[in-house]
């Protein structure tokens, strides 16, 4: 069951919502926890017991870490490291654990040329990658005295398993959710924002993501050895939009549903496509996830005095390492939002990490260069126009994202060659024109919705036309909802 399905919208959500508001406040957390377990069981029935066991394990670990810190136990770090390692083992070696213990079979993998990249099939239960990151942050925050360990098992379990965010985030810190878990009031304003978030998220997922992915599939079905340059880029742009609208649509729906139950889940995407450099792009992309990697991997590594002392080199190495981890994480998660169940893991996700790690490191140094001092720039009073910066960002990001396509490495190799004009294919052909023309409206919609144009227009007219604007907004919201409903059947 996904949020963008008829069974969720017309069975699960109404039942849970109406029951939730019909029962006493003190019973609501237990009810939400039960609903979340039912939701997860319907999405990933085979792994629910692992989720329950690890939740109990992490609940106890949190209390043990806190006790060891209070008593200033000499080897208190062991109580932190052991549960983190166990959690990571669950994340990284889930396939092997399952195979060993439960005998779950793997799908055979097509062999690929040895020089390219090797392929391994990993079965990651849906949501577990988000789940693990949340519990690790919870344990570290207790160890670092940022939060107090939760002693109410229901509240702790709800923090981890709350159904709007269990599948694809946003990743929340316990400290940010503690108050809402203990006591929350739902205001109409918040509920309205929640409904709007949900409807727009649904629109992003079922209209934009699902339609633009058809363009990517059309390109993907072509013979890549002869694919024209423009078609390859059209496909790559479609894939990049698919990723964005799939993930941000799902995040928006999660935030919206959270608000319907009184939780304020953090915003996850802040129009990354308006960024003027790659570093900024990723400050706006999957913000809760990337700030997790920043807080729990990059900063501790970069500020650790035991590592290399030369700061610049150290920063580069830490950036590269963090991005390789991000690449691996994206790899095991890519596609799991829409395709429940197993995900093919390829080594190209490491290439993804190295690629963006290098770009971001490079940008760090370019920012230090004072262009005003360069003779050419000084002489002709040159400035790099914002549009050029946008184009640079989109080209670099679009190219990098195709590395995340996990299905066929040989095709990926050919696609990259076409995108770089390395295989002497033509620039475009009649098929390119057909693909472009038959998807032009959806492409324009994707461009519009990936920028803040609509948001700015909203803000402008909400001030200037206070009576008419709410009516227009109301009609637009439900028109979008109606269109999205058409795509659920």
């Amino acid at each position: 069951m996904t949020f963008a399905s008829a069974s969720f919208l017309f069975a699960f959500l109404p039942i849970v919502l109406f029951t939730y508001y019909g029962i006493p406040i003190r019973a609501r957390n237990v009810f939400l926890l039960g609903s979340s377990l039912v939701f997860y069981t319907l999405a990933e029935p085979n792994y629910i017991y692992i989720l329950i066991l690890t939740t109990i394990f992490n609940f106890i670990s949190g209390i043990v870490i806190e006790k060891s810190c209070i008593n200033d136990f000499k080897y208190k770090v062991v109580f932190l490291i052991v549960p983190i390692i166990i959690n990571l083992i669950i994340l990284i070696y889930f396939k092997d654990i399952l195979q060993t213990i439960f005998g779950i079979d793997q799908t055979p993998v097509t062999p690929v040329p040895p020089l390219i990249i090797t392929t391994t099939k990993i079965l990651i239960p849906i949501g577990i990658s988000y789940y693990i990151l949340m519990v690790i942050s919870y344990l570290i925050d207790i160890y670092q005295n940022r939060i107090i360990a939760e002693t109410n098992f229901i509240n702790f379990s709800l923090y981890i398993l709350l159904f709007p965010k269990i599948i694809a985030g946003p990743i929340t810190k316990y400290g940010d959710m503690k108050k809402s878990l203990e006591n929350r009031i739902v205001y109409v304003d918040n509920l309205t924002i929640g409904v709007e978030y949900f409807i727009f998220g649904l629109f992003k997922k079922v209209i934009l993501s699902n339609n633009i992915t058809l363009l990517w599939e059309s390109v993907y079905a072509l013979e890549f050895t002869s694919i024209p340059f423009a078609t390859a880029w059209l496909g790559a742009i479609a894939f990049s939009f698919t990723l964005y609208f799939d993930m941000s649509g799902y995040s928006d729906m999660a935030i919206g549903i959270g608000k319907m139950f009184g939780f304020n889940l953090p915003n996850n995407f802040n129009y990354p496509y308006i960024a003027t450099n790659v570093t900024e792009f990723f400050k706006r992309w999957h913000m809760t996830l990337l700030s997790w990697f920043d807080n729990y991997i990059f900063i501790p590594l970069n500020t650790n005095q035991f590592l290399i002392k030369y700061t610049k080199l150290k920063t580069i190495l830490c950036t590269m390492f963090t991005w390789v981890v991000i690449g691996i994480w994206h790899g095991v998660t890519a596609g799991s939002v829409s395709n429940f169940g197993g995900v093919t893991f390829n080594i190209n996700f490491i290439l993804f990490g190295l690629y963006f790690g290098s770009i971001i490191s490079l940008e760090m140094y370019i920012r230090e260069i004072n262009f005003e001092k360069i003779i050419l720039f000084k002489k002709f009073k040159l400035k790099i126009h914002k549009i050029v910066k946008h184009i640079y960002t989109i080209v670099i990001v679009t190219f990098g994202f195709v590395l995340l396509d996990p299905t066929n490495l040989i095709k990926l190799n050919e696609l990259v060659k076409s995108m770089l004009f390395l295989n002497n294919n033509e620039f475009a052909n009649t098929q390119t024109i057909h693909l472009l023309l038959s998807n032009i409206v959806i492409l324009i919609l994707c461009v519009l919705c990936s920028t803040d144009i609509i948001k700015k227009t909203n803000q402008k007219y909400s001030q200037s036309s206070k009576k008419l604007f709410p009516i227009i907004k109301y009609i637009t919201t439900f028109a979008i909802f109606f269109i999205s409903l058409c795509y659920l059947v």
Partner: protein, 374 residues
């Protein structure tokens, strides 16, 4: 207005859910011309293998209140945003054209070897013929949107034919193309019209060895002008493209003695190939042979002793307006629904000729050849 947004959203959720579950359904969608997904049974196994939630989702999608209206809107939205292909069907002002996906090489090779296996076994006692009929998209290529590329059906048919042994092959493409200005395929259905079938009938004559009757020897009855076929059912678009169904009656003596349908519920007998009761249903094309069972035997009044066995899909149904003029008996066998219990009703040695007659899309993507039935 904020209150109204919340109230409207919750009201939509509540009333659509309530009406969906409280409105009785007969389990069949007349408009979509298909059985709706039944409510799934909750079992531990179905939850574990995720079939429960998948089936439940299909069940709700199928039974959702106003589902037909939502589907119609979806088709209109798709066209509005510039798409020319919905659900694998090209939509234009004149007709709906189904795009076809190529099957795997292994599947093609298996089907070739199965037909060769059959032809080889019976090569001394009967003549094996094959005709793969191109779909409308091949004949009406000019109706496709500009810059569209499509699968080359002629090349595929030639590949199949060149790999067959002990069989006579019949290529329908040239005759269909030369008659393409005529009404050969329905605009909203994948089947050939009666005239399209007549063209096939003439195309088959050389290899099957009969002299086709001239078209003016038939009286044409227009049974319907409001037929919306299976392509319309799939996308619920194209009401303005309503088709006509014509029935061809031989001007001489009635060539049909009776039609016997051998299904799992026994043998049903009819004295005509036309099942007129279907004219008033959504699936009007069933007027030819009705809801044909796994085996259908058409017995003619022509007592020339010639018998023809046809392994076929629906393509053969409307062809029965013409072929019985030349045969004493024609048996139509649907390999996909053939079961052991009725398999014995057919003895291949009773027949003089065998014809494999399939629409190319059906042959590639739906036909299941079980060797034990050959």
């Amino acid at each position: 207005m904020k209150n109204l947004t919340v109230i409207t959203f919750f009201a939509i959720l509540f009333f659509m859910s309530y009406l969906t579950f409280s409105t009785p359904s007969n389990g069949f969608s007349e408009l979509q011309n298909r059985y709706l997904h039944p409510p799934p049974k909750v079992t531990l196994q179905s939850i574990k293998d995720k079939t429960f939630i998948a089936d439940y989702d299909k069940f709700i999608s199928d039974h959702l209140i106003y589902v037909d209206e939502l589907l119609k809107c979806k088709a209109k939205i798709e066209l509005f945003i510039g798409k020319d292909r919905i659900n694998n069907i090209y939509v234009n002002e004149n007709m709906l054209l189904e795009d076809i996906n190529q099957n795997s090489q292994n599947d093609t090779d298996y089907k070739i070897s199965a037909i060769n296996y059959f032809a080889d076994i019976y090569k001394d006692v009967l003549q094996t013929n094959i005709m793969l009929v191109p779909t409308a998209i091949e004949i009406y290529e000019n109706e496709l949107p500009q810059y569209t590329t499509k699968f080359d059906q002629l090349e595929y048919i030639n590949y199949i034919y060149s790999n067959l042994s002990n069989s006579s092959t019949n290529l329908a493409n040239p005759q269909l193309i030369s008659n393409s200005a005529s009404y050969l395929y329905y605009k909203t259905d994948t089947n050939l019209t009666s005239y399209g079938s007549y063209v096939l009938y003439t195309a088959l004559s050389k290899e099957l060895g009969y002299k086709p009757m001239a078209v003016d020897r038939f009286n044409i009855e227009y049974a319907s002008h409001n037929f919306l076929g299976n392509l319309h059912s799939r996308i619920l678009y194209g009401e303005h493209l309503q088709d006509s169904i014509s029935l061809y009656h031989y001007s001489g003596d009635n060539p049909i003695q009776d039609v016997l349908n051998y299904g799992s519920s026994g043998i049903k007998n009819n004295n005509s190939i036309f099942f007129r009761e279907f004219i008033n249903t959504k699936n009007q094309n069933n007027v030819f042979l009705g809801e044909r069972d796994a085996i259908c035997r058409v017995r003619g009044t022509n007592k020339n002793g010639k018998k023809l066995l046809i392994f076929c899909d629906e393509t053969a149904n409307s062809l029965m307006q013409f072929l019985p003029l030349h045969y004493e008996e024609i048996a139509l066998v649907d390999l996909n629904s053939l079961q052991n219990t009725i398999f014995n009703e057919i003895d291949v040695f009773d027949y003089d000729q065998v014809l494999f007659l399939y629409d190319l899309n059906y042959f590639m993507n739906e036909l299941i050849i079980t060797l034990q039935f050959l």
